[in-house]
């Protein structure tokens, strides 16, 4: 009895003593802050941070390997508290969200009958799925089962639908998806994503120079989610009111529906949602990433400069815009007339961009009021040039500097600034581009007797948008094709009194594929006009490039534009970037926006001191994904596209009111339902598209 009691006590004592000593000897110092930090974390052990459990995350935070905001479930107060414990900067976590690209549907043909396990992972292991579509959703809902937050459900169309209210962005769905349907990404990664040749891209999205996710925003419109549609457009294009009015919409020419029917009126839908936001009396909030403290000088407040500032601000940097003109907007304010883009609309749009916290200075010109040295001295980390192409080309004919002769952009800018201009009664506009048409249509509204448009090739070769040419025709502008100005005739007062031109005929095609006009001998004809406006193209004004400075080292192309790397828009001076007309030569607003976004992407990496991460599979220079471009699209029921409402001709030529009007909601619905949802929904050439589309 005694022995057993003594033994038990002895054993207990021995164990206790050994363990006490062990705990002393084998004591491992653990930072008390780890426990404190762990208490502030969510404790869900969800793995969203990428560390093994909350204690792993706490260790990483204390070790400085992870930011205090690493936990995706923790609110800003706790992040601040953690930052206080670790002595680091709080920073704000960018909300991660799940997005699924595929909208499902059951139209794609099956390659084989599958009777196996109802799991995506199992189906995917058999030749990548039973469907013909190699990129689409398999629809067995592995992601739904993986989601711990009930944020995913298989929708009526058999594809996962994300409940953004519940999604915390833990990434569990992305991890289980055997395809790339579900993607978890922060806002800035989405802003900076370049179209890739392995993305599921509809032909329109491949064509859009700004790479807007067109099928997605049309889908939002169809569902009446106008704010989501606007936000989708804003991921790629901050100037949606402007583009909705003036964009030549190259996307519509590639619309798959256009192969068998009229294309979807994509741009009118964009304008429709953009106008809804403007007329709603409030602005939809635009999220920005956490501040980086880096400053960028944006030279030029036109579409390229505004877009670059917008994207940089959303990525957390601090851009400041320097504009030479009295107001921001550049070519879209001074080059596009009021009847196409009302200044009121433009002001509203620009204010929305400035509201993100972008500083701007007007009436300051690079090279006169400040130079590169003063910008670097003021602490800017990078400089973006979006100075546009404001130098009109000269006709190089005798008499073009007479009174009554103007150049296109100069003329439009003076009208835009409401400067008085000495205009006669009969005008000849020389040129066939959009600037020439804008000049001609502006002159009609100024009440002139006769407006001629003189172009050296034919209507077919005119680079202007077709709708613009048609509108100009309706407004009574007389076109004189195959006519090359020869000289300007002078009257007694030294004023122009006529334009002599040579008749031309079309010869062999030139480098641009257009037939080269050849003058006809002895065909001089005089057009009796007292004002001549030449609008035959522009190039950038790079006069700030003073000899003996850093700017002088900038490489310039033979078209007097910035020489840049096409993917990064970076010049040969590493901290100088350029996009827009000053880099591409005169082009469209939407091309300037696309270039500005590529520049912002590269600038972001430059400013964060990261090596530039290229995108080798990027779809640059309008490359197309071969298999997505169809020859035929059987099964389309032909439906008329929505007509654009316009002011009647008689009314519009007397004033500068906006000519193109917005389509109404019913028509927008109808039009959005014409979208085939290419590369989003299963495609099967044997089933009629219109009968099988999901209900609106």
């Amino acid at each position: 009895m005694l022995a057993s009691i003594l033994f038990t006590l002895g054993l207990g004592g021995a164990c206790g003593i050994v363990l006490s000593f062990a705990s002393k000897v084998f004591y491992v110092y653990e930072d008390p802050r780890i426990a404190q930090v762990e208490n502030l974390l969510a404790g869900a052990n969800c793995g969203g941070c990428g560390y093994p459990g909350c204690s792993g995350a706490a260790e990483a935070i204390v070790a400085g390997k992870a930011p205090p905001s690493v936990c995706i479930l923790v609110g800003p107060e706790n992040v601040a508290a953690i930052a206080e414990i670790t002595g680091g900067e709080a920073g704000t976590a960018e909300a991660l969200k799940s997005y699924n690209e595929c909208m499902g549907g059951s139209r794609a043909t099956d390659r084989f009958i599958y009777q196996g396990v109802n799991k995506c992972s199992a189906v995917a292991s058999l030749y990548g799925g039973k469907r013909d579509c190699t990129i689409g959703c398999l629809g067995y809902g592995d992601c739904v089962r993986a989601c711990k937050f009930n944020a995913l459900a298989i929708g009526a169309e058999g594809y996962p639908v994300v409940d953004y209210e519940r999604c915390v962005g833990c990434g569990a769905c992305q991890a289980v998806c055997p395809k790339t349907i579900i993607e978890v990404s922060p806002m800035s990664a989405r802003l900076m994503h370049l179209n890739r040749e392995d993305d599921a891209l509809a032909p329109c999205q491949q064509t859009c120079p700004a790479e807007i996710d067109i099928p997605r925003y049309i889908d939002h419109i169809r569902k009446g989610e106008y704010e989501a549609a606007v936000n989708t457009i804003r991921e790629r294009n901050p100037l949606l009111l402007t583009c909705g009015r003036v964009c030549p919409h190259p996307c519509e020419t590639m619309c798959r529906r256009a192969i068998e029917d009229e294309p979807v009126s994509i741009n009118q839908l964009k304008r429709f949602v953009a106008d809804i936001e403007m007329n709603s009396g409030k602005r939809y909030p635009i999220p920005c990433a956490s501040d980086t403290g880096k400053r960028v000088a944006i030279i030029g407040g036109g579409p390229a400069g505004l877009s670059a500032a917008y994207f940089l601000r959303r990525l957390g940097h601090h851009p400041t815009i320097f504009e030479a003109m009295p107001k921001l907007g550049g070519m879209i304010r001074y080059g596009i007339p009021e009847y196409r883009l009302p200044k009121e609309v433009l002001d509203w749009e620009i204010q929305g961009i400035l509201n993100l916290g972008i500083d701007h200075h007007v009436n300051v010109e690079m090279g006169f009021d400040f130079d590169l040295g003063s910008l670097i001295g003021a602490g800017f980390d990078a400089v973006f040039f979006g100075v546009g192409a404001w130098n009109d080309y000269n006709l190089n004919i005798p008499g073009e500097d007479l009174k009554g002769c103007y150049t296109g952009i100069n003329f439009l800018a003076r009208v835009g600034k409401n400067e008085p201009i000495d205009i006669g009664k009969r005008v000849a506009v020389v040129g066939g581009g959009n600037t020439a048409i804008d000049c001609a249509r502006t002159l009609v509204r100024m009440g002139l007797e006769k407006v001629y448009l003189v172009y050296r090739r034919t209507r077919k070769e005119m680079p202007a948008n077709d709708v613009e040419i048609v509108a100009a025709d309706h407004e009574g502008i007389e076109f004189i094709f195959l006519a090359a100005p020869n000289r300007v005739l002078e009257d007694e007062d030294g004023r122009a009194k006529g334009l002599e031109y040579l008749r031309m005929e079309l010869g062999e095609p030139d480098a641009s594929g257009r037939r080269r006009p050849v003058p006809v001998e002895g065909s001089e004809t005089v057009l009796e006009v007292d004002t001549i406006i030449s609008a035959i193209g522009q190039n950038p004004n790079l006069s700030f490039k003073q000899p003996g400075t850093r700017l002088d080292q900038l490489e310039i192309t033979r078209w007097n534009t910035f020489e840049v790397n096409p993917e990064t828009c970076q010049t040969n001076v590493p901290y100088i970037f350029a996009a827009g007309d000053s880099q591409t030569g005169p082009a469209t607003v939407v091309e300037a926006i696309g270039g500005a976004r590529r520049a912002a992407r590269a600038m972001d990496q430059f400013l964060r001191g990261k090596p530039f991460i290229g995108e080798p599979r990027a779809l640059l220079s309008q490359k197309k994904i071969g298999e997505s471009i169809f020859e035929r699209v059987p099964g389309i029921k032909q439906t008329k596209r929505a007509e654009m409402p316009e002011l009647p001709v008689q009314e519009r030529i007397t004033c500068f009111d906006e000519v193109d009007l917005v389509i109404n909601e019913a028509n927008a619905m109808k039009e959005s339902n014409r979208c085939l949802n290419c590369c989003r929904l299963c495609y099967d050439p044997d089933i009629s598209i219109d009968t099988k589309r999901p209900a609106a």
Partner: protein
């Protein structure tokens, strides 16, 4: 030498601690859902069981038998094993952090693993020598690991299959374990 081979074979296969003696069923079901976990657990069991077999043999031979208090065996072993696991955990954390990171979360689980207790008691029952006790313990542990890893592999496959809902998860696991045990009966007669 031949004796030891027989001892090892019989401990691993014929008298497999889980599938023949039905000990340690709790961690067998609990940690066999994923192969990774199963391998970690198997490693931890080999480590602890060998240590425990050694210590308990010493305790039994030099204290319990000497003092004629064998009736305290169960209580003494429980205490020794629990303390041993705690000690080992602390030791590893300090001295071999890499091993601790690998086995870490499984060590506390073994405190409550009846296979460990069972093996120690069996060693006494079979009146093994010190060396035999160590080898038997290690072999039992390897047997535990083999069964656990096999079972985890099977369960990972079953998870991909269409299991009727009343049988899902643990239920089908137990059925599978039964079949595995029957398969292990086939080893009888090997020695």
């Amino acid at each position: 030498m031949g004796d030891f081979t027989v001892l090892i074979i019989s401990s691993i296969f014929i008298n497999n601690i889980i599938l023949a003696q039905y000990l340690g069923a709790c961690p067998f079901v609990g940690t066999s859902k994923k192969m990774e976990t199963a391998v970690g657990m198997a490693g931890a069991v080999v480590f602890v069981l060998t240590m425990a077999g050694m210590i308990t043999w010493i305790i039994n031979t030099y204290f319990l038998v000497q003092l004629n208090i064998e009736f305290l065996r169960t209580i003494a072993f429980i205490m020794v094993i629990a303390s041993l696991v705690q000690f080992v955990e602390m030791f590893l954390k300090k001295s071999i952090p890499a091993l601790y990171a690998g086995l870490g979360i499984f060590l506390p689980l073994i405190t409550t693993n009846c296979a460990v207790m069972g093996v120690c008691l069996l060693n006494v029952q079979d009146e093994l020598t010190f060396l035999q006790a160590i080898i038997t313990s290690a072999a039992y542990a390897v047997g535990f690991g083999v069964a656990l890893v096999l079972f985890a592999g099977v369960r990972e496959r079953i998870n991909l299959g269409r299991v009727p809902s009343p049988l899902r998860d643990t239920s089908i696991g137990l059925v599978t374990a039964g079949m595995l045990a029957m398969a292990f009966i086939g080893f009888r007669g090997m020695v």
